[in-house]
């Protein structure tokens, strides 16, 4: 989605997409999810980043296909037989492919969502209902970069103290042990000061109320309603079997004819969820163009002397 919206909206969207991608085995749903997950990762990072992620995950896909087709001999269409072993069937192969794709899309969605989870606003999701956890998370987020910086300083200072270019393996190990012991002492010492500072600012306090920076505005509400209703429709389809797809014994969309309308509408609704961020972006762009157009007319009128400012 977008950082303009309340973190809850981002969370709703992510959960909706993720849950559907996990529950369904229908190749159309999986393909759609994969397609849009890829688009999301590419637009949030770079194409290069996307390819790299994909490259890392390809072995998983291949392994899944291999395992499934070698160990699973259900399915009617035999492609060939490996020696004395199980026959390799088309159905098992295709099942492996889509299972793998579903897994990869879930990973990709997580990568996409990571862009938002990094921002501290996501903390407010917890801060609202679980104030102590929200506070702890915030403190941890401050603590981590702090500690990395300190570990670096300790490593460099310890190495510099002895002024040697290359350390022997034993010395290196020693240095590492020392690093952790010093880091622990420093962290404990520092946390005492942090605790003092918290006391000085009136913590703990029974009156404490967590301040939430973002308000859930009407736009957030409307988008959430759209997401939730589309998502509910997906769940209904799932329950009534509108998207049920069987791989064995042969590829078959179960009861496709009976549930035809439900299935078609369900595909459309899933596609709508996926396209939603892009639709919102287009709407915003159109609004901008309208404003710019109005401004241009205004400027032209000033130039041609129709409007005179004094």
């Amino acid at each position: 989605m977008n950082n303009d919206y309340h973190p809850k909206v981002n969370l709703f969207y992510f959960l909706a997409v993720l849950v559907i991608s996990m529950l369904t085995r229908n190749p159309i749903w999986i393909s759609l999810s994969f397609l849009f997950a890829s688009l999301a990762v590419i637009s949030l990072y770079t194409f290069k980043y996307y390819l790299k992620r994909l490259l890392v995950m390809t072995p998983i896909l291949i392994l899944l296909i291999l395992f499934n087709s070698l160990l699973n001999s259900r399915g009617l269409t035999v492609l060939f037989q490996l020696g004395e072993g199980n026959p390799i069937t088309l159905e098992a192969l295709i099942y492996g492919v889509f299972n793998g794709l579903a897994l990869i899309s879930i990973f990709l969605w997580f990568y996409a969502f990571r862009v938002f989870i990094k921002s501290d606003e996501t903390l407010e999701l917890f801060a609202d209902k679980l104030p102590t956890i929200g506070l702890m998370l915030s403190m941890i987020l401050k603590y981590i970069p702090d500690t990395i910086k300190k570990a670096n300083a300790i490593y460099l200072n310890q190495k510099a103290l002895l002024g040697e270019k290359k350390l022997k393996r034993k010395a290196k190990l020693n240095l590492l042990i020392q690093l952790f012991s010093i880091l622990l002492s420093i962290s404990m010492e520092n946390s005492l000061q942090t605790a003092d500072s918290m006391l000085a600012k009136g913590y703990p306090s029974k009156r404490r109320k967590t301040y939430v920076k973002n308000h859930f505005n009407h736009l957030d509400r409307n988008i959430s309603i759209v997401i939730v209703s589309l998502f509910s429709f997906q769940i209904i389809t799932l329950i009534f079997g509108g998207s049920k797809f069987l791989y064995y014994p042969f590829l078959q969309w179960q009861n496709f004819e009976q549930n035809f309308t439900l299935s078609i509408f369900s595909i459309i609704s899933f596609a709508l969820i996926l396209i939603l961020p892009y639709i919102l972006r287009v709407i915003e762009k159109l609004k901008w163009q309208k404003i710019l157009e109005a401004e241009r007319v205004n400027q032209n009128q000033i130039k041609s002397g129709l409007i005179i400012y004094e």
Partner: protein, 541 residues
């Protein structure tokens, strides 16, 4: 004075820590603080400044035996309604609690249970007051040390306290960040009339804006009053602490008939008068040529066009930085924040490797470097064990270790945990440990940070003595210290060494980036770059 009711009254207050009941840390303190005044508590480290200030804030009061009474002016005569007191501590990083600037600003207000709209209003107000709107969404790690301390000031003032206490808030800042912080503090005081109590051992940049200064020595108030009176007192009674006064003020010792100067401008006026009236001679230009005759200098190492960056795609920190360092000389490397001084030192120590370029050493010298934050090299549980860590490796005899202990005054601390020492003691312990590695080349990064004036003098003496056998390179912001110890000064700017000269030449060429003494005496008494020069001059008459 008397028609103004004191906001804080301390009467016959004495204190001893629970762990050391026989040692009174504060001895019958009597003190009154006027509302809206700016009060500075000064004294050597260990004089009881922090202990006294902490007693004013219930949540931070140390545990132990208390005698006497601290009373506060009750707001609107409501009984037991203490004034709101905010407390800013020394370390800029550790007192920050949350992960982002706005989160940190909100923390104290959240504890008061204020509504979201009230919190928003207060954050808006304080960020506007300090002009820090740009930081609001930043994670804390993106701020520099000085900026962090300003944030700490803001996150305390946002609670709208009536009294603001600051415990050595600038000790861990470099001079420029210190100046910025103090300016912000003076501005706050002038604009809001808040009562301020601040402890500090280095009195530079402070005196002009201080209403009352309280001098503590070994737990006793030896003086309280106006800054000029303090200067007179310290100089007349000849306290060693007079060296903590700003250089223009220290001049009072030699021109006692005038009012002590608090700033360079005042100091220059006094000097001009003295020279015009013929009481002070123009400094004889016969400077001892012993300063640095380049002929008998042997290079100890030559760093040839060093390039460096921390990560593959990150910005270059150094680009073609070259320097020649001579044996048995002290070289000071100076430069602004982030000019790569520390990195340069790490390269010389070989803890980091240059991207390009080479460091050529004469022979195979032992190099040792002491980086910033001395506790990073304390991995043992007692001071003694810290010193003995490399005893076998460098074949330290008992005599050598004992010598270090006595040089650095560590005898009474041997059994203590190194993390329990004060900032100055940690620095001395670290230095002792480094010296025990018997280096031929000693590299020091900000060795005078968090040292009080006596310890600084001590380190100065030690370095000057050490120079006879060791090549020393130090990186520092403290130009007056550089003038006192260094033979050469090199300036890093724009990723390389842009100037290198003997200390005297270097500071005489500069008008702004130079020592306080030189700025004070320029044109009036040519040739003075350190206080000792001025001293000689003033003693002549």
């Amino acid at each position: 004075m008397s028609n103004n009711q004191s906001i804080i009254k301390i009467k016959n207050f004495s204190f001893a820590y629970a762990i050391e009941p026989q040692k009174t840390v504060l001895k019958s303190i009597n003190l009154e603080i006027e509302p809206g005044s700016f009060n500075v508590f000064c004294g050597m480290s260990g004089s009881g400044k922090t202990t006294l200030l902490r007693h004013l804030k219930d949540e931070l009061a140390p545990k132990g035996e208390v005698k006497g009474k601290i009373s506060f002016l009750h707001k609107n005569d409501k009984l037991n309604q203490k004034p709101q007191i905010a407390f800013v501590m020394q370390n800029p990083e550790n007192q920050i609690i949350m992960d982002t600037v706005w989160h940190e600003l909100a923390f104290g207000l959240e504890n008061q249970g204020l509504s979201a709209s009230e919190i928003e209003r207060r954050i808006a107000e304080i960020t506007n007051f300090f002009g820090i709107e740009k930081w609001l969404d930043q994670p804390i790690e993106n701020l520099s040390g000085g900026e962090k301390q300003i944030l700490n000031l803001a996150s305390n003032l946002i609670l709208q306290p009536e009294v603001l206490i600051l415990d050595e808030p600038t000790t861990q800042l470099d001079p420029i960040a210190k100046r910025d912080f103090l300016q912000m503090l003076f501005y706050t005081h002038a604009e809001t009339g808040i009562t301020i109590l601040m402890s500090e051992h280095n009195l530079n940049d402070l005196l002009e804006n201080t209403d009352k200064i309280i001098f503590l020595d070994q737990g006793e108030i030896k003086f309280q009053g106006e800054p000029r009176e303090l200067a007179k007192f310290l100089i007349e009674e000849d306290f060693a602490y007079q060296k903590a006064l700003p250089i223009p003020t220290r001049m009072h010792k030699f021109v006692p008939q005038t009012n002590p100067a608090l700033s360079i401008v005042e100091g220059r006026k006094i000097l001009k008068q003295e020279v015009a009236s013929g009481r002070v001679d123009q400094y004889s230009k016969k400077q001892s040529k012993s300063d640095n005759s380049k002929n008998d200098l042997n290079p100890a190492l030559f760093a040839d066009k060093l390039w460096f960056r921390y990560q593959k795609d990150s910005e270059l920190i150094l680009k073609e930085a070259s320097i020649k360092i001579y044996e048995n000389q002290i070289l000071a490397i100076v430069g602004g924040n982030g000019s790569g001084k520390s990195t340069f030192l790490y390269l010389l120590s070989q803890a980091l490797q240059p991207l390009r370029g080479k460091i050529n050493f004469k022979g195979k010298p032992r190099i040792a470097m002491l980086g910033q934050n001395p506790e990073t090299i304390f991995s043992q549980d007692s001071v003694e064990d810290v010193l003995r860590e490399y005893q076998n490796r460098f074949q330290n005899t008992e005599a050598e270790i004992n010598e270090m202990i006595s040089i650095f005054d560590l005898n009474h601390l041997l059994k203590r945990h190194p993390f329990d020492l004060s900032g100055g003691e940690k620095q001395k312990l670290a230095l002792a440990k480094v010296l025990l590695t018997k280096p031929d080349i000693l590299l020091l990064d900000e060795p005078t940070n968090s040292l009080d004036i006596l310890n600084k003098e001590k380190i100065k003496e030690i370095l000057l003595k050490l120079k006879e056998t060791t090549t020393i390179v130090l990186v520092t912001h403290d130009l007056d210290f550089v003038a006192d110890v260094a033979d050469y000064v090199a300036m890093l700017f724009n990723k390389k060494v842009v100037a290198k000269a003997t200390t005297r030449e270097f500071f005489k060429k500069n008008s702004y980036f130079t020592t306080t003494t030189y700025r004070l005496t320029r044109e009036i008494l040519p040739g003075c770059i350190k206080f000792a020069d001025l001293e000689k001059n003033l003693l002549q008459f």
